[in-house]
Symmetry: C2
Subunit: 228 residues, 2 copies
């Protein structure tokens, strides 16, 4: 049974009081440190096994700690899961919302697509968790509800645009959902393949969403210039 502390990168060797980042890295962690470590491990395991497929003991074991420690910090499995999901949702929502603040609709689309791909790349495990299902029956399924949150923002933008152009603004939700779905599922696919680079994927997504299959550009370019 390999014990592995994922976050702190401190696993083998006796207590070895070598100088760490702040104090000395020791076997017995601070409450806050342990908490973060458990969150990291939990996120990883939930991502690969799902909520029900992950046991508290497994999380504790990977942290090199016994079960009750988890209970002291989070009150139970659901508590830990809730914190993990909450953090991920905030993160993703912040990134996408930030990308949807100002600009021409086409730019917004581009930025939002890029933001999502960025999130997926940086917080892959989190994304996998959000895509999976929540503890029970998920009336407010994490992903569905999050997607809806984002879609709502897109709706508002589209609603204005539609009015300006004389389209029925009642259709904004449908189009918003379609756009978000397009980017989200492409992201889900891209997580595994990683074939074209992020920027290229974003460019093509914008190409499709903006020009449509009927008028695709052969070599789409992003308006904004980003490095990574």
């Amino acid at each position: 049974m390999a014990i592995d502390s994922s976050s702190a990168s401190n696993s083998k060797g006796k207590p070895s009081p070598a100088a760490g980042t702040r104090r000395a890295r020791r076997v017995r962690m601070t409450g806050a440190e342990r908490r973060e470590q458990l969150l990291d491990i939990g996120r990883t395991l939930f991502a690969e096994r799902g909520y029900e497929g992950t046991s508290v003991e497994e999380i504790a074991a990977k942290a090199g700690v016994s079960k009750p420690v988890v209970y002291e910090h989070f009150g139970g499995k659901e508590g830990l899961y809730a914190v993990v999901v909450d953090r991920e949702m905030r993160q993703l929502l912040d990134m996408v919302t930030g990308a949807l603040t100002a600009g021409h609709p086409r730019e917004l689309l581009e930025q939002a697509a890029f933001a999502l791909l960025d999130y997926i790349e940086t917080f892959t495990d989190g994304f996998r968790i959000l895509v999976r299902d929540s503890p029970v029956a998920q009336s407010t399924g994490s992903f569905a509800s999050l997607i809806s949150d984002i879609a709502t923002q897109v709706e508002d933008i589209l609603g204005l645009e539609f009015k300006a152009r004389g389209f029925d603004p009642k259709l904004a939700p449908l189009y918003a959902q379609a756009l978000v779905g397009m980017v989200a599922l492409t992201g889900q696919w891209w997580v595994d393949t990683r074939k074209p680079k992020k920027a290229e994927v974003a460019a093509h997504l914008v190409n499709l969403a903006w020009h449509g299959l009927g008028n695709l550009e052969a070599k789409p370019r992003l308006i904004g210039h980003r490095k990574n």
Copy 2:
């Protein structure tokens, strides 16, 4: 504990040998009948609680039968689940494949979108199961792999089209994924809202995918005329 036989609509009253469809409806079912009933119930429960959240006993209880019956028919929980998923995948794949056989790309798009919405409407529980996760870790996650299957078909079509138009056919997978994602996630949204009618949703999806946000038509129409 309400016992309810979902499919056969035969639940209360003594054996009552009234004339049924073929023979007489009786408490003790035929092997095949029981099998189908268990599949129906299993599909429903898996759809609302997920695989791990559903117990064999629960399925048996809802069928008004004891656990070993399930084991005799399917060898276990995974066996039943496998059959349910297999049937749903076949169904969906058949419908979509059928819609992707002949025609102009735009027509294909329209037909495929319509086919998916059709499936979702008719086999809602099945769709929910496919969207959820499979037994363990799902290396071949049911939905992801199914989406890929469909995407592959779209890829082939797009690949030809791209070549004809002088685009890079290597990008076909990306566009295929984006299109399938757009329709699939819109479908997932539509399952709950059911707000615009199916035909209207399909029309707008085609509108977006074909003309793009930059050149949307105000009142898109479907080429094919369908009733429901």
